[in-house]
């Protein structure tokens, strides 16, 4: 992070802060898991010769559909993981700010997370 300007051309690689490392790691995992699930869904779809399903599986039915190896279930879960990744990312930032005892940004991040969840709840009504 604190690369003196005169060394900048040499030190091209940015040294990540803990917060940045956490974000990168969470996003990498989120995308990897999501792509793996979607790929599994696509393969299952091809194997079963059903092609791509229309419509997602509701959350409540997801475990049973996954156990039944329904392609739609794996595709749905892949989408859920993709959608959930930013939530986890914000939560991860919150943890990092707590560890750094950065009170102001603990508050800021907590508000963001809260409003995100509130938006979801309001949207369901």
């Amino acid at each position: 992070m604190n690369v003196p300007p005169e060394q900048a051309s040499v030190a091209r690689a940015h040294v990540m802060e803990p917060g940045e490392r956490a974000i990168r790691w969470i996003l990498l995992c989120g995308i990897a898991v999501s792509v793996a699930l979607m790929a599994a869904g696509l393969v299952l779809g091809i194997v079963r010769g059903a092609g791509l399903p229309r419509g997602v599986v509701p959350l409540a039915e997801l475990p049973r559909a996954l156990a039944a190896l329904r392609p739609a279930a794996y595709l749905s879960l892949g989408l859920i993981v993709l959608i959930g990744t930013p939530f986890v990312r914000v939560a991860g930032s919150l943890v990092v700010f707590v560890r750094q005892r950065d009170r102001r940004y603990v508050l800021v991040t907590a508000i963001v997370l809260l409003v995100m969840c509130l938006g979801v709840l309001l949207g369901k009504v």
């Binding site: 992070m1 690369v3 300007p5 900048a8 051309s9 030190a11 091209r12 940015h14 990540m16 802060e17 917060g19 940045e20 974000i23 990168r24 996003l27 990498l28 989120g30 995308i31 999501s34 792509v35 979607m38 869904g41 696509l42 791509l52 399903p53 229309r54 419509g55 997602v56 509701p58 959350l59 739609a72 595709l75 749905s76 892949g78 989408l79 859920i80 993709l82 959608i83 959930g84 990744t85 930013p86 939530f87 990312r89 914000v90 930032s93 940004y105 800021v108 991040t109 508000i111 963001v112 409003v115 995100m116 509130l118 938006g119 979801v120 309001l122 949207g123 369901k124």
Partner: protein, 261 residues
């Protein structure tokens, strides 16, 4: 198409829902709600994938992003609630007008803002285009916060992500260099989009038939976008951004006139 959207979206820090939604619904005959849901998934994919590259280069100002996210998310939620109060058509014309104004302002400024040390939310990154380490601080944080509330509100009202506003606010007003602005905006749009996507999923508008191929295409495209954004000169990036803003403005006008969407 998803690949191209991923490249541009991640290069410019915008989601591109304004273009993606009408394209899906007109060219592919996707029902409008499903088209919106698909485009939101694409925004998340763009944000997550591009952020891996931006964050490891130190281009994203994580704290600034988080601070402004408070404004945009609150604005968006309020916008969703107040949507019934304002005539959508008036809003669409205003949106188009503001986009044109912003593009003109960016054009008038020519190149990028001059980074200045202000002691507020300072950050630095290495710019391969100029081979310099750029150190900058944020100006007018409060005004930027208030305007972000407005941007979030409008995006909640019109159902668009609002990256097109976030970039000019941070760049022109708050003095954040364009590349850091794009990276930070890219981080922010993922948050707003995720909240909306969860709602669309719950209401059953998500269709894997469109969303899965689109997301996979976007993910590939969004690997390329940040590389371009990092390597291109800020000037070239600015010009591309202005053109995209004008395209957005035209799309919004068409929507306001009831043509297309």
């Amino acid at each position: 198409m998803a690949f191209v959207a991923g490249v541009f979206g991640s290069m410019l820090g915008v989601g591109g829902g304004i273009i993606m939604v009408p394209m899906l619904s007109m060219a592919f005959g996707v029902p409008i709600k499903v088209a919106i849901a698909t485009s939101i998934v694409c925004v998340i994919a763009t944000s997550s994938m591009a952020q891996i590259a931006f964050v490891s280069r130190g281009m994203t100002n994580v704290r600034l992003g988080m601070l402004l996210e408070v404004a945009t998310t609150v604005g968006a939620v309020v916008g969703g609630v107040t949507a019934v109060l304002i005539d959508g058509r008036v809003l669409q014309f205003c949106f188009a007008a503001v986009l044109v104004y912003v593009a003109w302002q960016m054009n008038r400024h020519g190149g990028d803002v001059t980074p200045a040390r202000t002691g507020v939310l300072e950050a630095n990154y290495y710019d391969p285009a100029t081979r310099r380490d750029v150190r900058y601080g944020v100006r007018r944080t409060r005004l930027g916060f208030v305007l972000s509330l407005g941007a979030g509100n409008v995006s909640g009202l019109l159902g668009v992500g609002g990256g097109a506003f976030k970039v000019p606010i941070m760049n022109l007003l708050m003095g954040v260099p364009l590349k850091a602005t794009i990276a930070t905006s890219n981080l922010m749009i993922g948050v707003t989009a995720a909240a909306s996507a969860a709602i669309f999923y719950g209401r059953g508008y998500m269709d894997p038939y469109y969303a899965v191929p689109a997301a996979l295409g976007i993910l590939v495209g969004a690997r390329l976008g940040p590389r371009l954004a990092v390597r291109l000169s800020a000037r070239a990036l600015g010009i591309i951004f202005q053109v995209v803003l004008l395209v957005f403005a035209v799309m919004m006008l068409l929507r306001g006139l009831g043509l297309g969407l």
